[in-house]
Symmetry: C2
Subunit: 86 residues, 2 copies
Amino acid sequence: MQWEFVGSGAALLTMFGFVPQILKIYRTESVADVSLFMLLQFFVGIFLWLLYGIHIQDKILIVSNAVSFLTLIVAIGLYLKYRKNK
Amino acid sequence: MQWEFVGSGAALLTMFGFVPQILKIYRTESVADVSLFMLLQFFVGIFLWLLYGIHIQDKILIVSNAVSFLTLIVAIGLYLKYRKNK
């Protein structure tokens, strides 16, 4: 098996993992069933991964967590925008 | 800074990142705004991380992705159970 493909696939799928949720919120303008706590917990967790990646100077950790972090900012922004729509 | 705490905090927050969403689905029995595609994308991505972790024999990668993988099975199971509730 080509392990580089496994690792790259893992990184790509998870770093863009929140994109389908972002698109769904954008389309439906509704977030009633989405857990804000989930988004905030990932926001802090991914930020710590990013700091840790910078500390150990691991490019893959830095890039993938930077991308995830940006998607979480968008997701949380949309959540706050649409939280009053029921 | 104690970098071990940063890394451990990052791992703990993200490995249990879907737990708040699981609790919310369990409580509300509603998943209309949750993206199934998000859950499935993480399911496959985390599974690939798990395989990759086993390949490079990295304990942290194995344990944290095994935990995430289990939470995703629960989340997807609850999603399918409550998807007909509107």
